[in-house]
Chain length 301, copies 2
């Protein structure tokens, strides 16, 4: 695989590279190294929120708006929550078909990689590829509200958190830890009862929340109301997203580098029979602590 | 720290050991090695479900039932979702006070450990401690529905997933990936409208779901209805939990061993300035791929 055709906008080369990256094919990492210096131009927008908040609908309307502006849009759908079902979910497949004929839209779904983790790394690699290939706006859509979303939010230059009335109250949202990662709140389904109350609660919580130190402390996340199903408020949401000054990138990369290192280290233990070791421990023939020590002692990395 | 007093049931020694384990104090690992051969007797019950499903209330009633039977109950509350707020949540503190005078109940809250992960490991260690100390039933309560919950579910001998009517439909729950890890479903707030529909949906999805290979494929997870706030159905839920034959333990330990190894490997890089490296990458002066290679080359592990 060569970087040239991808940088020149060859869509078939791009699709092949995406598959190679997903499969960790030989040569994928060399390609990424070559592409990396050509990145940093795209606006990377993370979009997260609880299931049922309307993320897919919002993303659809954002794609449409961005295409009307003539932008090239990359979309990465991340579903870290289902390690066994895997694969693209039905809604993504339908969406991919809709944009199938538009060379200005590239959509890829990624599911969890199982115990080895690597979803943050895989999403990073795909972002590098799309950025280098000249997609000027990249949307990373994540399902759910767990630790993985927090990790993946670090990939984005700006993170949008969707909330909807009636999916639990503001305090629950705080508990789920997504309040701290939001640079912009989108209050979707704003025509439902409870929208006013939710907005008040979000603003009250924002007053209390401590934003992590790597985030621009001077920025107060705005709350934008949308009815994404009708496209209402989506342009305003995009304007709010673009107004965010950014500035989290070094911290993001620090976290990602750590994740990449962790993954690379574990690759050296590919020959270790964890299943058999697990049986030994389950039978109490070994303790897990001395077993891990032993592995480290016997592997020169 | 010595194992003797803990194995003999000394509660002050237990509390000191719990704190040492949480803080990764020197000597904690040696203690865990000594305790490990004395474990494997406790029934470890994982309890998960979306925020607002009533996990805390169910756990409260389970504690009461188990205490009435004369059992000693350990409770580990895990909140992996909020990396920045951290600490025990208010409800847990209230609960801990309620059982403060009962030496047969030991409750500990754990929050996320930040980027280094380690929550699965920390929860494992605490389970080892409580099991060795003679707590015959250990409840691990996790908040949320993300990948972390899936990891932590692997610690448990039996996993209970709580669902409630009105927090999104069955298809959403499937999307969130918790259907596959459930050994027992508890349909809480069963007096709310929509309970019948939710039960039908869960059963329909169960018909479609592929349970992971390490799980007993012959077991069909039962759906037990509760109104936990009134204690209704909790005894039936406990009976269903105990009816599960188990058998996931070797696979659980395999995953945990991998996690422990990953964590230990990363400890060797404690002196690495990830923040500075992140700045280099953000400025495109370095690419992340060659940087990680370089770290591995220069660290003899």
């Amino acid at each position: 695989m060569r970087a040239g055709p991808i940088l020149a906008g060859d869509l078939r080369a791009l699709a092949r590279a995406a598959t190679a990256i997903e499969n960790r094919a030989p040569g994928a990492e060399t390609l990424l190294r070559e592409l990396f210096p050509h990145t940093g131009r795209a606006l990377v927008i993370g979009i997260t929120g609880p299931p049922g908040a309307g993320k897919s609908t919002l993303v659809d309307h954002l794609i449409r708006l961005l295409r009307d502006e003539g932008r090239r849009v990359g979309v990465i759908c991340v579903d870290p929550s289902s390690p066994w079902t895997g694969g693209a979910i039905l809604g993504d497949r339908i969406r991919m078909q809709r944009h199938h004929d538009d060379p200005g839209v590239f959509i890829r779904s990624m599911a969890a990689r199982g115990c080895l983790g690597g979803l943050a790394r895989a999403t990073t690699d795909m972002t590098v590829l799309l950025d280098a290939a000249g997609f000027d706006t990249i949307l990373i859509e994540t399902v759910g509200v767990g630790q993985d979303e927090v990790e993946i939010a670090k990939l984005a230059g700006v993170t949008v958190v969707l909330l909807v009335p009636g999916l639990g109250d503001g305090v629950q949202a705080l508990k789920a830890g997504i309040m701290e990662i939001a640079d912009v709140f989108v209050l979707n389904k704003a025509d439902l009862p409870g929208a006013d109350r939710l907005e008040r609660e979000v603003k009250a919580v924002l007053g209390l929340a401590t934003r992590p130190p790597e985030v621009d402390a001077a920025w107060t996340p705005p709350v934008v109301r949308t009815v994404a199903s009708e496209g209402r408020g989506v342009a305003e949401a995009l304007a709010a997203i673009r107004a965010y000054p950014g500035g989290r990138k070094a911290g993001n990369w620090a976290a990602l580098l750590r994740e990449m290192l962790r993954e690379r280290l574990l690759e050296r233990f590919a020959d270790t029979d964890f299943q058999k070791a697990g049986e030994e421990v389950a039978a109490r023939r070994r303790d897990p602590y001395s077993l891990v020590d032993e592995w480290i002692d016997t592997h020169t990395i």
